[in-house]
């Protein structure tokens, strides 16, 4: 199977790329340096409907398929990984609603998400439940006609700037429920609910403009209308969400790789040493060839994964893990090589590749470490025998 982008996908991709080049690229270094969340970029992406892409037209979205959403994430991440993540999180944080929400919940929140008027966050990870995500401790207990949530979440992207937070909490602690993965439920916690706070923002190596928050829930009263899906459906919702959101991170990784490759290629065509352009020296030429090849391979795996997942393949989890795994490793390798091509200039902030190298690292860590992706693929291989 080969992936040919449709005319519409090409037009949308080019439009996002043009917007990113003109309006986001000039901001990228400052966003990284200040470490402040770029609300102006949110406004820009919202006003050009980029944040509307993953949402259905009936609620003001554009009804873009997974591949189209990923094309947008890639195009923005090519110049600014923090800004690309805004697009990815707008999708990730809306997925539980899209996958398991009621028509009333859709009508209540999706128009605002599609318009970019509110930002969502996805809160699964806890301090003691990282890769072992099912072992989380945040609890939701019945309280009258609603729920009472107690606990804490860690490493939650945009957790402090989000208006709605998808919180996964234990609703049945019995060994049977845990064994059957029916112990979790998903709730929407709204920012202004009493007992909810975001006391700490992490200081990070990369994606520095994207706030990563610790969230605390102290007896947060949540009405039952904010429960997404059935009681006990939380783990299933989380897994189905990740099947569609991991490609988004792969797209971010491909974008970062592409961005750093372009800088390196341009530099190699201009910089002269030993009397010729450095790209004409075989050792640099080989680096550039590998960077281009790896990036394209990651991109093609991502695009195929998107189409397979959108078509309803039973191997969705495997495709999602494979493309995130390969693209994340590619981004790390290609950005590291980009720094190498630029030499000393690559190591200083005068050029963007050191930032891209720092940004690339996160794609090997979040939405499941590379080790977890391998685990997903390996388990599937062993279950199917191929």
């Amino acid at each position: 199977m080969t992936v040919r982008l449709s005319e519409e996908q090409l037009a949308l991709r080019d439009a996002v790329r043009e917007l990113a080049d003109a309006r986001i690229a000039p901001r990228a270094a400052a966003i990284d340096e200040s470490g402040e969340f770029p609300w102006d970029v949110v406004e820009l992406l919202a006003s050009h409907d980029v944040l509307a892409l993953p949402y259905p037209a009936a609620h003001g979205g554009l009804g873009g398929d997974l591949l189209t959403v990923c094309l947008a994430i890639e195009a923005v991440s090519r110049v600014c990984a923090t800004s690309g993540l805004i697009v990815a999180i707008q999708e990730l944080g809306g997925l539980p609603l899209l996958l398991a929400g009621s028509p009333e919940q859709h009508a209540r929140w999706i128009p605002d998400l599609a318009a970019g008027r509110i930002l969502p966050a996805f809160a699964l990870t806890e301090a003691e439940a990282g890769s072992d995500a099912a072992s989380l401790r945040t609890r939701a207990e019945r309280d009258g006609d609603g729920w009472r949530i107690d606990g804490a979440k860690r490493f939650i992207t945009e957790g402090n700037v989000a208006t709605i937070v998808n919180v996964f909490a234990v609703t049945d602690d019995s060994p049977e429920a845990r064994r059957a993965h029916r112990h979790l439920s998903c709730f929407i916690v709204e920012r202004d609910m009493a007992g909810f706070s975001a006391p700490k923002i992490e200081h990070k190596m990369g994606i520095r403009g994207s706030p990563t928050a610790e969230l605390v829930f102290e007896g947060v009263r949540v009405p039952d209308a904010n429960r997404v899906g059935e009681v006990g459906e939380g783990w299933s919702i989380a897994l189905r969400t990740l099947e569609r959101s991991r490609p988004g991170i792969a797209a971010q990784a491909v974008g970062i790789a592409q961005g750093s490759f372009e800088v390196a290629a341009r530099y190699a065509a201009e910089r002269r040493q030993f009397g010729r352009r450095i790209g004409e020296h075989q050792m640099i030429g080989a680096l550039l060839a590998d960077m281009a090849t790896r990036t394209e391979a990651a991109r093609q795996l991502l695009y195929t994964a998107c189409q397979e997942i959108e078509a309803g393949t039973p191997l969705a989890g495997r495709w999602a893990a494979m493309c995130k795994l390969f693209a994340g490793d590619t981004a790390m390798a290609v950005t590291t090589d980009a720094v190498q091509v630029l030499g000393g200039y690559g190591y200083v902030s005068e050029y963007p590749v050191e930032r891209m190298m720092r940004d690339a690292k996160i794609t090997q860590l979040y939405e499941g470490t590379q080790q977890i992706q391998r685990l997903v693929v390996a388990r599937d291989v062993m279950a199917r025998g191929s």
Binding site: E7, L12, A15, E18, L19, S47, H48, D49, A52, L62
Partner: protein
């Protein structure tokens, strides 16, 4: 307010190539002419504020379609594409004949045109077209607004002393400059909606024209030569502490009698 915007598809700036007889290669890689995007932006803002619709009109090869699609994605309601092998090589006179004939089949209150095109650079088509159609011609518009009462159009043109205020009854033809304000980027919604908007393709016959009056053979003017601009001299880059740098730059300018 019904506005027709003349939108030319030009070679992507920086990639222009000449064919034989110094004709511009329009075979590939076309984009909307930059100046035309500025008047399109003004037209879109006027119709958004005062009602009405914007129609794009272009004369050009098949590759002009992408430029029209961008204009539609920005917000124009429909487009007319005059496409006919016989118009290739037309000079300004031939272009004016075709555009005038096409405009004769459209209903409009205003026609907007950019100051010039990045490939032709003649800058005569708007005035010529207004003369041929007998329309009032308001040139170098920096701002366009409806006149009081609604039957006229008002234009500001920057002058040495401030600005001139021009007013003319509609229909009229307005030539605008980049002072009108930055054109918008098409939104993604606009791009998706553009796919369903009408692009009418008209031949010369559809415009009621014979091939004899247009095209290279009928051109009244001929490009007899073209040379690439000489490469620019090396720039002098001053790198120093601010005070020392300012002194160096002032000295440099003074040595060339520029200050």
């Amino acid at each position: 307010m019904r506005i027709v915007v003349l939108l030319k598809a030009v070679p992507i700036v920086g990639t222009e190539r000449l064919l034989d007889a110094f004709r511009v290669d329009r075979g590939s890689g076309l984009e909307a002419n930059g100046n035309d995007e500025y008047v399109l932006e003004a037209a879109l803002q006027l119709t958004e504020q005062h009602g009405g619709e914007v129609t794009l009109l272009t004369m050009g090869p098949a590759g002009a379609l992408e430029a029209l699609r961008k204009g539609l994605a920005m917000g124009a309601a429909r487009a007319v594409h005059v496409q006919d092998d016989a118009v290739a090589g037309s000079d300004a006179r031939g272009t004016v004949r075709v555009l005038a004939a096409a405009l004769g089949r459209l209903e409009y209150d205003l026609v907007f045109a950019g100051a010039d095109s990045s490939d032709g650079l003649g800058g005569v088509v708007p005035a010529w077209l207004a003369a041929r159609l007998g329309l009032p011609y308001l040139s170098y518009a920096a701002r366009i607004e409806p006149g009081p009462g609604g039957a006229t159009v008002r234009v500001r043109r920057i002058s040495p002393t401030g600005f001139d205020l021009l007013e003319a009854p509609m229909p009229a033809l307005v030539m605008g400059t980049q002072l009108l304000g930055e054109p918008r980027y098409p939104s993604l919604r606009g791009i998706m909606q553009a796919r369903t908007k009408e692009i009418a393709t008209w031949s010369l016959a559809d415009c009621g024209l014979q091939p004899a009056g247009v095209g290279l053979a009928a051109a009244a003017s001929e490009v007899v030569g073209a040379t690439a601009p000489p490469p620019r001299g090396g720039a002098t880059i001053v790198r120093d502490q601010p005070d020392a740098a300012v002194t160096q730059i002032v000295d440099l300018l003074a040595s060339r009698r520029l200050v």
